[in-house]
């Protein structure tokens, strides 16, 4: 049980990779990349969890409440912004590729070879 959340992260990473490798549609492939990235959120949040910890903000500073690790949550926030940036750029490329190649199959994007 103590390993379970980490295994979930690994599973998401593998599923994302599987989707990336087998995908036949650019938008689907880009979303598989998002799935792969989700594994990093799960892993980061999991490693920062403390049993019994509260959400990382203080409503009362007099006591010394134990919070879960705020650092990993900040990292995940950064990570999400990276995802938004990369995804939007890739989707833009997919739109253009659809116009230019007349296809959304990565197998058909074959201008460059050898």
């Amino acid at each position: 049980m103590s390993l379970f959340p980490y295994l979930v992260a690994a599973w998401i990473a593998l599923v994302g990779l599987y989707g990336l490798v087998t995908s036949r549609h650019l938008v689907h492939q880009i979303l598989c990349l998002v799935v792969l990235q989700s594994s990093t959120y799960v892993l980061l949040l999991a490693v920062g969890f403390k049993t019994g910890g509260i959400a990382p903000y203080f409503s009362d500073v007099s006591g010394r409440p134990v919070t879960v690790d705020p650092v990993v949550q900040a990292l995940v926030l950064t990570d999400i912004v990276v995802e938004v940036a990369v995804t939007s750029l890739l989707l833009g490329l997919a739109v253009r590729a659809h116009r230019r190649f007349g296809s959304v199959d990565p197998e058909e994007l074959r201008q460059l070879r050898g």
């Binding site: 990336l20 650019l26 070879r113």
Partner: protein, 616 residues
């Protein structure tokens, strides 16, 4: 030297200034996007200023690593609470090379192509800031952030000529492959954070300590490595590079080949020495693994390079080959090996940038990058032809270009550490790459030999290159002939510097001094006496270095002549078996990103498996 405890304000400025100028240009786009010259001037002035600041920093950090704690958040009881820049002279030098090449390509693009709005200039400046931040940071998550800044800017720049098919495919493959690598790296960062509760590289390094590495450390190391060697184009993670380099605008190719790939490999060295080195132990196993990867990459890249007819693709594969050689230099884990790699990176960066710029001039004037179509048509481009030939000889390690020193030192250090075959690998791959580029020089600019057969793969592609520049201009303007000339001259001048060897070896020792790095960053002590693991090795230029340099260049010349005249030699006319093997290899570079990712997973599994068994 600055007094200990004070922070050098230049360190944040080298990143923040280009970022702010980029934002300023975008904010004023409505006003200035019609004034192309103003845009060019502002952007060039910015990158010149950044280069100057970095050169000053390089001199200041020669005595020891300079640390900068953002917001003044110094570590508490040996634990970092903020982000730091930890700059040694090697990282500052690499960042300076970056800024110089950005300047050169901005000057080149002055007359070269139409840019839309302020976007090109903004993207270039953020790209510069990302690369400099990546070089200087001392925090592993911050490394990921700047890696992504540089990545996203690079994807957008690759796709700059969106009207064509090639750039779309190249940028897409580039972005997908590198993002997958980056996210796997982030998984590795998560693992290492779970173990050590730290993101500062020095602190992680200290927390991992010495002794037997656990499974987590090995896996985290391999995962972090994936993103970096994908950027560094190491086989089998390299497929994206040829696609992206072949289609990006030429001024951008200069940066991709000249520094971006090298930064990936610098990241490997940085992460190894500051974070994982002591914790992993077993240096001979590490050396063996990286040597194997480097040698494979050098040979595969050189082989593909020689087979290309598309000039930009040829140069792209030659970059892969050189990336392999840089990795070999690092793999030795000696100061001389790393110094050799550094000299090689400088020499190669300058020479390769010059070659790309010359190709740009050819494209501008003759409207093609296809070797078979261009045969003999470059005679009118006199200056460009001379510069291209000189740069090609530099690529083939001809003294006094700095490349020959790099090749020599890597070979010397390998021989004295039980790997004498490295010299042979370096020579073979340099001869293949140099031979390919010299073949182009002879054929295109001097009309020697027979025109090569048309490459069926280029038939549709060649017509498409024209949108990059207006093409067929009456003459090549000075802004396009001067930058490559200056770069080639610089490559030769640096090779002649009298104390280059000892300076670079000192810089390499700074990087490899794990204990000293921890003390400087976390203890606030400036370390002047380097406690090195390996003793210094002699760096005097030896006769054998000169001989192998001249030998490689001569070999490359012979190979080039063979390539130009082989149809007149009866014995070589039909080499059927070679053709079959080559076609099989060509099919691997399929252009489909799904294949590239399969290879990536395969590569991780192989490296992971090898290190799992050898490090425990």
């Amino acid at each position: 030297m600055r007094a200990p405890g004070t922070l050098d304000p230049l360190l944040p400025l080298v990143v923040v200034v280009p970022l702010l100028v980029a934002a300023l240009l975008a904010a004023l786009s409505a006003l200035i996007s019609q004034h192309r010259r103003v845009l060019d001037l502002v952007a060039i002035a910015t990158s010149v200023a950044v280069s100057a600041m970095l050169v000053v920093l390089m001199a200041r950090t020669a005595g020891g690593v300079a640390v900068y704690w953002f917001a003044g958040l110094h570590p508490r009881h040996g634990a970092a609470i903020g982000i730091d820049f930890a700059a040694g002279s090697l990282s500052c030098g690499l960042a300076a090379l970056t800024a110089v090449l950005v300047t050169a390509s901005m000057v080149f693009s002055w007359r070269y192509f139409e840019t839309a709005s302020t976007w090109f200039h903004s993207l270039m400046l953020v790209f510069l800031a990302g690369m400099v931040g990546f070089c200087l940071t001392g925090d592993i998550f911050d490394l990921f952030v700047w890696f992504e800044v540089m990545g996203v800017a690079a994807y957008a720049l690759t796709a700059f000529r969106v009207e064509e098919k090639g750039p779309l495919q190249g940028a897409y493959n580039f972005a997908i492959t590198n993002s997958v690598g980056a996210y796997l790296s982030l998984l590795g960062i998560g693992l290492i954070y779970a173990r050590t509760g730290a993101l500062n590289m020095a602190q992680i390094g200290r927390a991992l300590g010495h002794g037997r590495p656990g499974s987590l450390v090995v896996v985290a190391f391999v995962l972090v490595l994936v993103g970096l060697i994908t950027k560094g184009a190491i086989v089998p993670f390299h497929f994206w590079l040829a696609d992206a380099h072949a289609v990006a605008p030429t001024p951008v190719c200069v940066l991709f080949s000249g520094v971006m790939v090298e930064l990936g490999l610098y990241g490997v060295a940085r992460v190894y020495w500051s974070v994982f080195g002591a914790g992993l132990g077993h240096r001979s196993a590490i050396t063996a693994a990286f040597l194997a990867l480097g040698i494979l990459t050098a040979l595969v890249g050189a082989f593909f390079s020689y087979r290309q007819r598309h000039l930009k693709r040829m140069l792209a594969f030659s970059t892969i080959s050189h990336a392999g050689l840089f990795l070999v230099g690092f793999a030795l884990l000696t100061p001389l090996g790393l110094a050799g790699a550094a000299a090689y990176v400088i020499g190669h960066g300058l020479v390769k940038a010059a070659l790309f710029l010359c190709v740009g001039a050819v494209l501008h004037r003759l409207g093609s990058v296809d070797e078979s179509r261009l045969h003999g048509r470059g005679r009118a481009l006199k200056t460009t032809g001379v510069v291209f030939t000189l740069a090609a000889l530099g690529l083939a390690d001809l003294p006094p270009f700095a490349t020959y020193l790099g090749a020599g030192w890597v070979g010397d250090s390998a021989s004295s550490h039980g790997a004498p075959y490295v010299t042979a690998v370096v020579m073979i791959s340099s001869i293949l790459v140099g031979g390919a580029v010299l073949r182009v020089a002879g054929g295109v600019f001097y009309g020697l030999g027979d025109p090569p057969r048309e490459d069926p793969r280029l038939r549709q592609g060649a017509t498409e290159e024209r949108s990059e520049t207006s093409g067929d201009e009456a003459k090549v303007p000075l802004t396009m002939t001067l930058p490559p000339l200056v770069l080639v001259a610089a490559a030769a001048a640096i090779g002649l510097l009298p104390h280059l060897g000892s300076v670079l070896q000192h810089a390499a020792l700074q990087v490899e001094d794990e204990a000293g790095y921890v003390k400087t960053v976390l203890g606030g002590a400036a370390v002047h006496h380097l406690s090195a693991l390996s003793p210094k090795e002699p760096t005097a230029v030896r006769a054998i270095d000169l001989e192998s340099g001249f030998g490689t260049a001569a070999g490359a010349l012979l190979l080039a002549l063979g390539g130009l005249y082989y149809r007149r030699l009866p014995g070589l006319k039909r080499l059927r078996p070679a053709r079959v093997v080559a076609d099989t290899f060509d099919r691997l570079q399929s252009g489909v990103v799904n294949d590239y990712l399969t290879w990536l997973v395969f590569g991780v599994a192989c490296i992971g498996g090898a290190l799992a068994f050898s490090l425990r």
